[in-house]
């Protein structure tokens, strides 16, 4: 019962966060929202009885890829006139 509620609410949050990630004007917001989608996805994997995948998503999807995005954002900000 509670698992179903958890699943539905987390899925709705993930969807709204994905929309934020795609539509937000600010790149920082966008990247953070994409990281949040990964984060929720990894809780959802756990509800789907896939702890291995959940761990991979936590370590790689929401950890390392957010880091790479911010490194790139930093490089871009420093090397140009970009706002």
């Amino acid at each position: 019962m509670i698992n179903s509620i958890l699943f539905v609410v987390l899925a709705l949050l993930a969807l709204s966060s994905a929309i934020t990630a795609v539509l937000a004007k600010n790149l920082v917001t966008s990247i953070l929202a994409a990281g949040f989608v990964s984060l929720l996805a990894s809780v959802i994997y756990l509800l789907l009885s896939a702890p291995d995948v959940a761990m991979t998503e936590a370590a790689i999807g929401s950890g390392l890829s957010t880091i790479i995005f911010f490194y790139v954002l930093n490089k871009v900000r420093r090397s140009g006139r970009h706002d």
Binding site: P51, D52, A54, M55, T56, A59, I60, G63, L64, I67, I68, Y71, V72, K75, R78
Partner: protein, 244 residues
């Protein structure tokens, strides 16, 4: 504008396809044949408690080898694309807070230990080479974050990476002669099911994968981290540029 309408129509069509798929989707009640085979025989054939690890390392070990190779290629292409070049102007990098530096000095060994735990216990609990490697790479990133001037010894990384790759393939070939085929884990005795020393060669293979993935991801991340000259900052650590 015309582009947006076009994109919208495309998405509508895609959504229609998905809807049809979703309506015709029947949730399975039983495992399919392949999965049932793995569930029945995985424990006795491989001896790993974690069936996902058993599949990744043994049954589909060749795929894993290919995947590790793809990661290696990605890292190489990245190093080609993101050549370190001289910075045109010196820019100021704000030095990390003293607290963060201390905290990361305390924390990084623990992160490495956690990564090692994850890939050593890959056959018993969730996790394994990929996750452990990612955790170790994150530990390295924490070091780089607190001290942007620290140089990671790429030679050490490359050595660990190629050594673990060679041993991995070597053990895989050993499987052809000593057991059933390439990357067969029954080179070593199976051991007691559910303990650390079980599943034959699988833990060792997973440790090697972990080291290889960890070093590859580290190499990939350090490519994005550029080395620059600070013009200020109070960090006493900034001048040391040795390896980790």
């Amino acid at each position: 504008m015309i582009k947006k309408i076009f994109a919208f129509l495309l998405l509508i069509a895609l959504a229609g396809v998905f809807l049809v798929v979703l309506q015709n989707y029947e949730t399975p009640e039983e495992l399919n044949l392949t999965a049932a085979y793995y569930a029945e025989h995985g424990a006795e054939e491989v001896g790993a408690a974690n069936l996902v690890s058993a599949i990744v390392v043994t049954y589909r070990g060749l795929d894993t080898l290919g995947e590790v190779t793809i990661l290696f290629l990605t890292a190489s292409i990245l190093s080609f694309f993101l050549k370190q070049r001289e910075e045109r102007g010196k820019r100021s990098v704000r030095a990390s807070s003293e607290l963060l530096r201390t905290a990361s000095a305390v924390l990084v060994p623990f992160i490495f230990l956690l990564g090692a735990y994850v890939f050593i216990n890959g056959h018993l609990s969730p996790g394994g080479g990929f996750q452990g490697g990612a955790i170790i790479a994150s530990g390295l990133v924490l070091l780089l974050l607190t001290d942007p001037l620290r140089k990671v010894s790429s030679r050490l990384l490359a050595r660990v990476e190629s050594a673990s790759g060679f041993i991995y393939v070597g053990l895989g070939i050993a499987g052809i002669f000593l057991a059933g085929g390439f990357l067969d884990s029954r080179v070593l005795p199976a051991g007691t099911f559910g303990t650390l020393l079980s599943a034959g060669l699988l833990p060792i293979l997973y440790i090697l994968i972990g080291l290889k993935v960890g070093t590859e991801l580290s190499g990939l991340l350090t490519r994005f981290q550029e080395v620059q000259v600070p013009d200020g900052g109070d960090s006493p650590d900034l001048k040391k540029g040795e390896n980790v």
